[in-house]
Amino acid sequence: MTRNTEHVSEFQLALRSFKKNRLAVCCAMILFIFYAGAIFADFLSPYSYRNEDRNYSYCPPTPVRFFDEGKWVGPYIYGQTLTFNEFYRRVYQTDTTRRFPVRLFVQGDEYKLLGLIPSRLHLVGVQEGARLYLIGADSRGRDLWSRILYGAQISLSIGLIGVLISFSIGLIVGGVAGFYGGWIDNVLMRLCEMVMMVPGFYLLLALRAAVPDDFNSVQIYFAIVVILSFIGWAGLARIIRGMCLSLREREYVLAAKSLGLSDFKIILRHILPHTVSYSIAAVMLSIPGYILGESALSLIGLGIQDPYASWGNLLSDNMSIVRIKFAPWILWPGVFIFLTVISFNIIGDTLRDCLDPMMKAERK
């Protein structure tokens, strides 16, 4: 896509002012770490997301010790057994008779790294006989830390793919409506209004219920992404259409028309690039909507199904005050959701401020 050089330098300018904002940079770091964690989830997590052991249900985080009577022995943990006190509350007794060393690069559950390379290598692990729970276990004794890493694969990608779909639809519909105007514009805009008219949540429910029942969990995942993006595109289309309407009268667009370029090329090459600055900021600000959308769906049981993990269904499985009182570590997925959402918000906002001058140039 050819873009006039003057434009590129503005991006560099925007990048420079983005770097100036320390808060935005540290949010970018957080997101980078999360996405890296998601990609290498299989390797980083001590157990696979399906590995369960019912003798460790709601087992608290296992304390990792380094010293044994003052001597440095290297990281190790003790075995734990589940007992119930007189109020039938889970109490874990640690038997200090045997030590289980915590080793790095251990052979563990089998997986396919990035879906391609089969391997059994895990960053950290403990051999049989004891279970290492860095931040505790869920009701079926599955390691919450591993499931958060796997959940990141779903929750973080839902946002990206969803935004990709809804923005491509939004840009095309907005571009076409803005460029052609007339009855096409009218029809497309009424269609947008129709989609915006339905309260998002109920459209979500109705569409989710329309998903055929024999879908396996990955298909359900894509169905949820498509549904969430189906709700998102209408708002964007209207704004892009507004911008295109004003861009259409620009001289260079008329010049391009006179040169006989096809309408579609004109839209793609000359009009839409100018909406890029607005779109980048809008993209960042709408990703949280998808992540929160997925967790709302999980709360009412329509999100990602067991045994797969997503931050939404991890949080909503235990959304009860009694659980939180006795096993507070199950709130960790909520913390990760919050950090991701706030990072996207801050980055999106800073981007909008940095790209502002360019947008003003667009708008004049």
Binding site: F84, F87, Y88, R90, R140, A209, D213, D306, I321, V322
Partner: protein, 599 residues
Amino acid sequence: MNPKRIPNQPLLKILQIPNSFWGSLFCKNIIGFFILFLSWAAFLPLSTAENTHPFRYGGKLVLTTTSDPKSFNEIIAKEVSTSEITAYLFEGLTRVNAVDLKVEPHLARSWKISPDGLTWIFHLRRDVKWFDGFQFNADDVVFTFNELIYNLNIPTSSRDIFTINGQTPKVEKIDDFTVKFTLQSKFAPFLWVMSQPILPKHKLEKTVTERKFNFTWGIDTDPREIIGTGPYKLAKYVPGQQIILERNPLYWRKSVDGDQLPYINKIIYLIVQSADVELLKFLEGSIDYYVLRGMDFSLLKPLEKNDDFTIYDMGPSSSSNFITFNLNPGINPKTNKPFVDPIKLSWFSKLEFRQAVAHVIDKQKIIEIVKNKLGYPQSSAMTEGAGFFNNTNVVQYDYDLTKAKELLQKAGFIDRNQDGILEDSQGHDIEFNLYTNADNTERVDIAAIIRHDLEKLGMKINFQPLEFNILVSKLNSTFEWEAIVLGLTGGVEPHFGRNVWASTGQLHLWYPKQTTPATSWEKRLDEIFDLGVQELDENKRKVFYDEFQAIVAEKLPLIYTVLSAKLSAVRNKFENLNPTNFGGVFHNLEEIYIKKEYR
């Protein structure tokens, strides 16, 4: 079978008022009220003449429900949210005593049965009045049956209960207070089903003639229009918030020591959809009763003393959880493909396969993990709560992986290529789908534990929790499923399970609506259910139903897992409480009164 903690109320215990009680806001109102009450009682003459214990009257009971009632029309609406309320408003000719599970007289003073067991004569009480003062008599009974229950353009499940192999009993009025029921075939649980509530003829006759009955007594009706004979009448319904019931001053029943019942003035049902909010309300003291989930026990038990409430354990609940395999050999007419892959059908039909699965269900561990140790293993079809008809000596399957492997080996399921997955004699890997309903988190956990153990056995399971609607359409219309973990609400009267156990029943889950019984033991079950219902002698009936439970335990069409414990926490403000497994805590609500200091 009585619960562990019947509260003995020595006088001393009443005076032991816990200290946190004094500080709470609740108590400040009570002291103010108490002084007011003393001054009031001193001057006012007693309201009704012959009450011997005036101080027992008054006070209110605050309960919760999760959803709005569907309507107040007991014939049309049978959901729990509705029947919970209509149970106070309407009464039947007979009533089941919740303590000894025997049928006892209610609106009918007494009854007589003809020698051939087909004709029943009921003598009605003469002292029963409707809320609006009209006299209750035989016309109301005849109207309820002939005009409402047997009326074909009123869809009601009551008609199914009274349809005994295709015919409904004839109902005739002998005189104002006597009614004759003539059956075409003997029906043992007849007295049991005669607890069917009777509705007022003078109030509803017009709506039936104008064909408007299906839409009468909906939630938009003025509470004063709802007329019944029960201990409480409807005072106010605020959509989405609360239902208030008031004491029926004309109620006919007297207590053992001559008091006009009921004692409690007002019952308030708060509509609270979130279980957590309900728990917080109970801890805060604004509601008097809370049904415990498994995990709540460890939170509430320590607070029992200073928060002034008691937790009653009423034994196992009657709603079962089981795993069942699809044995339906039929062909799907739309796709003319078999409902179940014939190879898998051959596995599921082998008894050893099902027995092996039964041995893999670790009931103790499930109770511990899923029910927080508050649950009971289930092995026979009639639960312990069914009392008389519960047959305990049926085949038991203890958790034993090696025994399970032996059974599978005997049936030809061996892991020939050592890939960790068993193959059948033709060499197909044992792999099937396992479904359950996603919204019941406890059942999802049970299914996951079973799946984990089956995989240890060498079977590959695709576990998939589904939306409830989708699951039901698979069970009832498409029949395309292989294994399902599901549950059904049990009961005390075995005949009510006929739709599940008779081969023609539409809830005969593993192979519903069979034209002819597919197996010999299903044929035997049909006979048992036909004979059992005719046998009027309780002990002879028990022989039939014991055999039924033995067959089910042996042939394992449904492989039972665990039952949860019925636990409720009740504020220490009531006297005469007598919690039972069948009736729960407030089955004798008319006789329960509130201690003075709590009113």
